[in-house]
Symmetry: C2
Subunit: 402 residues, 2 copies
């Protein structure tokens, strides 16, 4: 079989499994998640051995140390992956929920009901734990998942998928609710995102290049964020101590996160007072300041700094150079804050708070499958609810339309 046929075959199996998952109640889904956590623990040694082979091979192939690090399933990463599955089991199940109900004068009763999508395709890169994290979220919402990981993690992914699928089978659920693309080739990704009617939505978990390639090829909808170029605008009405503490949190706490700040905008009226403090802070914290980095996603201890004439110019700067992810204003002026919050066209807008809060857990969603800078369906952190669609269920007593 060529790649296209293999993918369509796999996707047809996932679609069938999704049809069966539709009638599985929450208790059975939770039992399956518990069983997956147990199976992973039981298979820990085999999984570790497979991962060690991947890591050794990556070393031989001269993979960058950062990549090898991501690939490595340390005991603590393994534990938090398994804990994550148990955590998802404890979260509320959004499917089946009634969004609204209406009785119409025509004689029909309409229920707008939350439903699984069907088949979710997740394409990810080095980190093998993404396989388990995303499978748990999809299973909880009654979806089947097709996973396609990086070729450097293939042994780890095969071992993890085997464990998860055996757990599903042991509780009488379809194994194909979790399917792994276990053969190489980039055409597999292309075929996945073109499998209209079999794949309902694709979610990339990786770098900008992967995401752009997927979107370029896609015929099925893709939920994504390309990158996070987040701004902190410090207004001339800001408490400068607060501004510095928010900047420190947003830049330094985890520079590699997509919700870390990449650009500081300073109102020109306070530039003389504030910029020396920023320089002192940067020196102390090892941050390199730039003045030519508009729109750059550093993901490191680098920060672009620019002055603006006021709130309006800050809004325009953010909308022009940002990535519509997370942007903050620090000010004591309520009107300017309202203007910034209204006119900045980003998924998450902050007043006197750090952009680092953009996260499913911090937003009270329990867990997240990713963050979206799209405007359709899901914007910002995507939790369980964002892994569902809805359906209109209409009941009548022979009702016909006039």
């Amino acid at each position: 079989m060529d790649t296209r046929d293999r993918i369509l075959d796999l996707a047809a199996g996932a679609k069938k499994a999704a049809g069966e998952m539709r009638s599985v109640d929450t208790a059975r889904k939770n039992a399956a998640l518990s069983m997956i956590a147990e199976a992973l623990e039981a298979d820990a040694a085999a999984i570790a051995a497979a991962n060690a082979e991947d890591v050794a091979e990556a070393g031989k192939n001269g993979l960058a140390p950062a990549m090898v690090d991501r690939l490595t399933l340390t005991p603590s990463r393994f534990k938090s992956m398994v804990d994550g599955v148990r955590h998802v089991a404890n979260l509320p199940d959004p499917t089946g929920e009634t969004i609204w109900r209406r009785e119409m004068p025509s004689g029909i009763a309409i229920e707008k009901r939350r439903e699984p999508f069907g088949v979710v395709a997740v394409v990810f890169e080095s980190r093998p734990n993404v396989l388990v994290d995303t499978a748990a979220l999809c299973l909880k919402t009654g979806n089947a998942i097709i996973l396609r990981g990086g070729k450097e993690a293939i042994r780890s992914n095969v071992a993890l998928a085997k464990s998860v699928r055996r757990a599903l089978a042991s509780v009488g659920l379809p194994e194909n609710a979790v399917s792994l693309v276990d053969f190489p080739g980039h055409e597999a990704v292309t075929e996945l995102v073109r499998a209209v009617g079999l794949v309902d939505v694709a979610i990339p978990r990786g770098g900008e290049r992967l995401i752009r390639a997927m979107c370029e090829a896609a015929l099925v909808p893709v939920l994504k964020h390309y990158k996070g170029v987040c701004h902190i605008y410090v207004d001339d009405k800001a408490d400068l101590e607060m501004a510095l503490s928010i900047l420190d949190n947003a830049k330094v706490q985890r520079p590699s996160a997509c919700n870390a700040a990449e650009c500081l905008l300073v109102h020109k009226g306070i530039a003389d007072a504030f910029l020396p403090k920023v320089e002192e802070w940067a020196k102390r914290r090892g941050v390199t300041l730039h003045d030519d980095g508009a729109g750059v996603e550093y993901l490191s201890l680098d920060l672009n700094v620019a002055t603006v004439s006021g709130c309006r110019e800050a809004i325009e700067y953010v909308n022009r150079n940002g990535s519509h992810h997370s942007d903050a204003i620090v000010t004591a002026d309520a009107e300017r804050a309202a203007e910034f919050l209204r006119d900045v066209d980003s998924a998450c807008v902050y007043h006197n708070a750090s952009t680092r809060f953009t996260d499913g857990a911090e937003f009270g969603m329990g867990a997240e499958i990713g963050i979206s800078t799209d405007k359709l369906h899901a914007r910002g952190p995507m939790g369980l609810e964002e892994l569902t669609t809805y359906k209109y269920v209409v009941r009548g007593d022979g009702a016909c339309r006039n």
Copy 2:
């Protein structure tokens, strides 16, 4: 300028207008809609003259009579178009609405707030009234709209857009909130749906060929339904009189609608009793019955008929051959109804009611911009709420993440 530059130029203007529309309150948007209705009435003669030229030209070019009919803006169609604008002015404005609000232990207050998309691109075919209908819905939700109609309606569309834009300017709103692509060429559509960062969502209003071409080229999200292949499944526990009346409504009332029934599925246990009634009905109503039309969208007085062994086979038939639009079961058996409603993977599923109810007004949404068979963002009828996205507005008092 080439087509790409012209479209990017137009889209940049629309994006700027969208930024301004964001701060326009509901009262001003409603005033603008009233002014548009007045302007259209004032310009009725000029619009009629432009439309007459289009119709005359279409006649000369030998356009099919059905196409010429769609193109014609009769006085009654003109009136209902203008009434539609006033109706939208009277509907509630979903933007600015708080979807939920949470105070987190970390010290942040999160508001999930409904927001305009920004720029909506609508590509339509012959009917010029679509320009005004969709512009009114987009303006009400604070969106800018870029319209691209059929070349056979170009004079009508230019006249309508001129009237609408003058009305916007007269109340101090940006004219470019309603922009018309007034130059020919299919590349214009391609460039529109590839204008990432300028166009937020594209909505086709036309036939399946147009929609497929748009989706194939698109890099921006497209909200759509390809077609409506709706089923009526008559169970052996059905009230046969009710079944016949629902079938009659679903097939005959408006056969050209996407929510009209195209296929009747009959439980084999009642085939001998029911099919003669269906044949008699078909003869009386001028309906032609087929036995080889699985998956066909007739849009005419034609109906595919098949027998199935029971509810499960009916569900599988619908999921395999249908278009995930609207499908009905007629039965007095509550369990089978629940199974059908749960397992048929369509936007709207009906129990003892006609599929013809799939419509924004019938669902209590007031108006609709279209119907979606997608599962992301909007499924089924799309009203004003479906023309919005949301944004997380987060407030703190210097809150930083631990």
